[in-house]
Amino acid sequence: AQSVTQLDSQVPVFEEAPVELRCNYSSSVSVYLFWYVQYPNQGLQLLLKYLSGSTLVKGINGFEAEFNKSQTSFHLRKPSVHISDTAEYFCASIGTGANNLFFGTGTRLTVIP
């Protein structure tokens, strides 16, 4: 069965510092992996996705993620965060041939001025 684990429920970080939000997935088959962001009082929107090919994926707002098959990880990174990055971030996966997205429990990123 598909699942994703987000290891940190809350991550506080100072403005302009780098950040990494961790995500591990479990699956016995090929997966597609996604990061979504939810700003306060809004729905989710896609940050980036990994389908195949290059393991380093670049997304919107300067975020990137690296697919690591040996560690079954898909960590999200940004070299320098901004106040506006304060939000909740969700890792998600879906198996090939499936219709259902599985979400992690979310990581709340708080950027401190």
């Binding site: 979504y36 009082n41 729905g43 896609l46 090939t96 219709n99 259902n100 997205l101 429990t105």
Partner: protein, 113 residues
């Protein structure tokens, strides 16, 4: 601009009431989903639909039902609302295929008193 629209942002209902949450998408998407979002639990799938009049149970279908009479509309029904159904409800849609992005509505914050 693609859109998933949920009929209400905030809703307050009494215990025992029948509650309808409506979701409409304008992208001609095949798949539609209802998630429930609670702090520390992430997004949990209630039901999804991959075609008109078709539905599949998600992880937490108990106490809920759904209706998809038209491709663009997916309704979530709480037959007899209870206080433990107080939550944020998110609707999403995707085109067919596992690799496609999910588009989310703004969410409905339901409070059952």
């Amino acid at each position: 601009d693609v859109k998933v629209t949920q009929s209400s942002r905030y809703l307050v209902k009494r215990t025992g009431e029948k509650v309808f949450l409506e979701c409409v998408q304008d992208m001609d998407h095949e798949n539609m989903f209802w998630y429930r979002q609670d702090p520390g639990l992430g997004l949990r799938l209630i039901y999804f639909s991959y075609d008109v009049k078709m539905k599949e149970k998600g992880d937490i279908p108990e106490g809920y039902s759904v209706s998809r009479e038209k491709k663009e509309r997916f309704s979530l029904i709480l037959e007899s609302a209870s206080t433990n159904q107080t939550s944020m409800y998110l609707c999403a849609s995707t085109q067919g295929g596992a690799s496609t992005e999910a588009f989310f509505g703004q969410g409905t914050r339901l409070t059952v008193v």
